[in-house]
Symmetry: C2
Subunit: 171 residues, 2 copies
DNA sequence: CTCGGTGCAAAATCTTTGCACGCGA
DNA sequence: TCGCGTGCAAAGATTTTGCACCGAG
């Protein structure tokens, strides 16, 4: 494979950066330093994040390398919206806060959400997609997507909780 | 049946009002006019609502009947939190806004969410509960609940959209 | 009487927007 | 050069909190 990028499970023809450029050009939007930096950071690691965490990451990296462009909060919000538009990111709401995750070149999945440590654990289920279609058909509903979040306590939190119940934990 | 209340599909021994009183007493909290009015309105109709809609409903009814107590915004928020605590309401986040629905005496279900008219359509699926357990077991995850929202376009919106595309529709 | 409850207003969060300047195409 | 993009600050939207007074138990 020559220009094939492997993002986790799925292979796609273009890198996120290229894919975004394509999106921008198709809309007559411009490829700026800020948008470039944004995509670079967002796809440097596969993880869930919110606007604030991205801001932190951006400010930290720009502090190190003099060449890094500054990206204001407003631009981060505007950029994240574009990335969702472009199909690179998926947006979800958790406890009233917007959380993002990779979508481009990444398979459909859902989440287990630990109420103790706020961690998101991904899982896939093709049965769910099937179930989704059945329900939709019953209600003459045209599906565009879905979001399933199973809440509870993850293994490590359950373990730690059993070992010690110090008052400090209860915050 | 003597003191049996039928809230939709399930029968419970106490009315929401009574159930809430019980909760309050068990916590040493007081049964006030505001809390009473709150519960009364919340359970007068089975529908999804947010804090603002409840505020509207409250102000409208108090305007009519002189006896109705005023309930401030802060108290509404505090009250809704208690109702969730008490297991009478379920809270979910939709587009970053908190939305509530009846939980007490109401069966587990999930939702179809119309992105066009913001309507929530309920549906039940026992397969989902099953699927949920399987996934949890795989990840050694202790489940406390789940939330599935299937997004798309409802039947009526799909129909209307086809018939006319007046600019007025686009808010 | 005694606290918990309430209203009011201010604060806290998170996100969006108006505007003048700067930079990509 | 031309106009979109950006930063800044201010506005918005939603929810939470501090405080003095009120009222349920």
């Amino acid at each position: 494979m020559s220009s094939q990028f492997a993002l986790n499970d799925v292979e796609v023809a273009l890198s996120p950066q290229e894919r975004f450029d394509e999106y921008l050009q198709s809309r007559g939007k411009r490829i700026t330093q800020q948008r470039r930096v944004l995509v670079e950071h967002v796809f440097s690691r596969h993880e869930h994040f919110d606007a604030d965490e991205l801001m932190d990451a951006l400010s930290k990296s720009t502090a190190k390398q003099a060449g890094g462009a500054q990206v204001s909060r407003a631009t981060v919000y505007r950029g994240l919206e574009e990335l969702v538009e472009a199909g690179l990111l998926r947006k979800m709401s958790l406890d009233g806060r917007a959380v993002y995750e990779h979508d481009y070149g990444y398979p459909q999945h859902d989440h287990l959400y630990c109420q103790q440590c706020q961690k998101l654990i991904e899982f896939q289920s093709q049965e769910l997609t099937q179930l989704r279609e059945e329900v939709a058909k019953e209600h003459n509903f045209r599906v565009t997507g879905h979001r399933l979040i199973v809440t509870g306590v993850c293994q490590s939190c359950a373990t730690n909780r059993h070992r010690r119940l110090s008052p400090v934990d209860l915050i």
